[in-house]
């Protein structure tokens, strides 16, 4: 369906990534956010707090991130599209409720504007060191989707995508920004509302008598009902059966947890978004994401000027990890180079997917700034040998 025009600020804007993310959420139909202030993410909810009362929604600043990350889920079950925004220390506190959203299949978006860590780390400076936490941070087995924008324009476009994936798969979606993308100001084009595709809630059409909150068919994604509609349904973070009732047996656990995983994995081709360029004859493929992809772009150009055959693979979808595509490329390329603002997170996924078919080189960086293009170039040259 098309976006509600009330939330869409159509036009050309010169705004930063945080503000663009907020506009993306509004365009996607988010009418509720719960937040807690934390640098460098706060501008998202500051703008939302100013904008949402004029489009029929509300923002509440909660007492901490534990509260924010569950308040938004209450709002979802009340019928709203909802999200929260944070950075590393707050993301750590939200892990409990990422698990709850995964288990209860609550469609929602968690935005993490990444900064240097661990702990309080570098509040005002960038990192990409929460990538594994986004995937594995809550306890237990579950599957999430994570998207990674590299510009304010993508903060707008992909936030809409994040909400759409959340609704389509009934899963918490991690929107993994970083401090530079969040605070960088660029041109952002917001199209007319009728050109923005928005996925509505998968609301059940069944009657209260026949509705089972966690029954599925086909794609493994159950239909949802909202509180107050007469369905009198039950939702629990305990292992549950199709009726939503607690059922703590190994059989029910197996069925439920495998479905939570397969509903995402089976659709990974559709969820995987990549930017590819010059891969056909590449000896070396630079795999990057977020702000680092823009530094890598310069390094790739410098390498090509020196005669190296270098291809670009940018992960827009980081989770589920696009291992199939990497495996395909591994049969043709000599090596993969993975610069990222951490000491080696996604590079291990690349290495795993490559499976020894090619060499894998990390270009680690502890965060606080971005790479120098020369540092990436140096590894490209080394990898080309």
């Amino acid at each position: 369906m098309q976006a509600d025009p009330h939330g869409v600020l159509t036009g050309t804007h010169f705004i930063d990534g945080d503000h663009a993310c907020c506009e993306g959420a509004l365009a996607a139909g988010a009418r509720f956010a719960a937040g807690y202030p934390i640098t460098p993410s706060t501008e998202v909810v500051e703008r939302f707090a100013a904008r949402v009362p004029t489009v029929g929604g509300s923002f509440i600043q909660m007492e901490d991130e534990l509260a924010a990350s569950i308040t938004l889920q209450g709002a979802v079950w009340g019928g709203a599209k909802a999200f929260t925004v944070t950075s590393g220390p707050g993301f750590s506190l939200m892990m409990e409720h990422i698990g709850y959203a995964a288990m209860t299949e609550t469609p929602c978006v968690f935005v993490d504007v990444q900064r240097g860590g661990p702990s309080t780390g570098l509040p005002t400076l960038p990192a990409q060191a929460d990538m594994m936490q986004a995937r594995w941070g809550s306890h237990g087995d579950y599957e999430i989707i994570a998207l990674c924008p590299n510009s304010p324009q993508e903060c707008f476009d992909l936030t809409i995508k994040a909400f759409n994936f959340a609704e389509e798969f009934r899963v918490p979606v991690m929107f993994m920004m970083d401090e530079v993308v969040g605070h960088m100001t660029e041109k952002v084009m917001i199209p007319p509302a009728d050109e923005i595709e928005v996925v509505p809630r998968r609301h059940t059409r069944k009657s209260a008598d026949t509705y089972e909150p966690y029954a599925t068919n086909g794609d493994g994604v159950p239909e949802m009902a909202h509180a107050g509609e007469g369905y009198k349904f039950h939702v629990t973070g305990l292992t549950h059966d199709e009726r939503g009732y607690p059922n703590m047996t190994p059989q029910t656990q197996d069925k439920l947890i495998r479905r939570l995983q397969s509903k995402i994995r089976d659709a990974s081709d559709r969820i995987t978004l990549l930017e590819e360029e010059g891969l056909n004859n590449a000896d070396v493929i630079v795999v990057s994401y977020g702000i680092t992809s823009r530094v890598a772009q310069r390094a790739i150009e410098l390498a090509r000027q020196q005669g190296f055959k270098v291809g670009k693979l940018r992960l827009i979808t980081c989770w589920p990890f696009p291992e199939k595509r990497i495996r395909e490329l591994a049969s043709r390329a000599k090596a993969f180079v993975v610069p990222e603002l951490n000491l080696g997170q996604m590079v291990r996924e690349v290495e795993r997917a490559v499976g020894g078919e090619a060499k894998t080189f990390a270009v680690p960086h502890a965060g606080g700034s971005v790479h120098r293009p020369e540092d990436i170039l140096k590894v490209i040259v080394e990898a080309s040998r």
Binding site: F32, T54, G56, L66, G78, E96, P200, A227, K232
Partner: protein
């Protein structure tokens, strides 16, 4: 009609297909649910507009047994979940039903902030003075000298006086009863439904398995006798004087019944004042279903 055909009047409020429940013999939680159901019958409240939110623990299981839109959330977070539910759909009556450990320890911060905001929630706090589900550990409500599995030599930390805490934080309705006071409890729940704002009802309830037994306080029946003999009804009692001891007097009654604007009225007022006609009231637009 033969005796066995008579349906218990609270049955329509329960998920009978989930019975038997997990609560122990002598536990008071079932009694509170019975009072809650009777309050719903008497107040003729529209059940479709009623949602119940629980945290984790023995009382947290209430959400799984009531035939309502019901949410069993994470430990301590029933109140923030309920806050989001209420804000997204202001037409809902939202009840939070949880235990003392869940609401006042791990959820203590949310409790005081919800009272401060005066969010329109009805909180029923079943206080059995310990963590029961996990085996009888010390809670912030455990009275002095009581033996628990994590205070084997007696509790020496001062306890929270919950009515005093929530009154200070801003609740508009505060009452306390024991599971002996079934009619009074049902009446308080009915009254809370009449209030707009943060209402808090504490129900002192036995845990014969873990609290009474360890402290040689007898069984469920002995506890009822204690509640009967040592409770003193004192409506309007200063909550500062309503602290609990292990074997002493239990002050019960309606302590606070006052009016102040709830969160959503305040929000609407402020937005209309600042934004005028630009303000779009979310209560009319919120559902994003197809």
């Amino acid at each position: 009609m033969s005796l066995i055909d008579i349906e218990n009047p609270v049955e329509p409020f329960l998920r009978t297909d989930r019975m038997p429940h997990i609560w122990c013999p002598g536990c008071g939680i079932g009694t509170t649910v019975n009072c809650f159901a009777r309050a719903l019958i008497d107040s003729k409240i529209d059940l479709q507009s009623l949602a119940l939110v629980s945290g984790i623990g023995c009382t947290g299981r209430v959400a799984g047994y009531v035939k309502l839109d019901s949410f069993h959330t994470t430990h301590g977070r029933a109140i923030p979940f309920a806050t989001g539910l209420k804000l997204a759909n202001p037409k809902l009556n939202v009840v939070v039903y949880s235990g003392d450990g869940d609401l006042s320890a791990i959820g203590g911060n949310h409790l005081i902030h919800a009272a401060r905001r005066n969010i329109d929630l009805k909180v029923i706090c079943v206080n059995n003075l310990i963590y029961a589900m996990t085996g009888g550990q010390t809670a912030p409500t455990t009275p002095g000298h009581a033996v628990t599995s994590t205070s084997p030599y007696g509790m020496f930390e001062p306890a929270f006086n919950l009515p005093h805490l929530v009154e200070a934080a801003g609740a508009v309705y505060v009452a306390r009863w024991t599971t002996f006071h079934v009619r009074q409890l049902a009446r308080s729940i009915r009254e809370a439904f009449q209030k707009k704002g943060f209402s808090f009802i504490e129900v002192i309830s036995p845990c014969p398995t873990l609290y009474q037994r360890r402290n040689r306080l007898g069984d469920g029946l002995d506890t009822m006798k204690y509640y009967k003999e040592k409770s003193r009804v004192k409506h309007g009692a200063p909550t500062s004087e309503a602290g609990l001891t292990m074997t002493g007097e239990i002050i019960v009654g309606k302590f606070v019944d006052r009016d102040r604007p709830d969160y959503q009225s305040l929000m609407r007022g402020q937005m209309v004042e600042s934004l005028g006609e630009e303000y779009v009231d979310p209560s009319e637009t919120v559902c994003s279903c197809s």
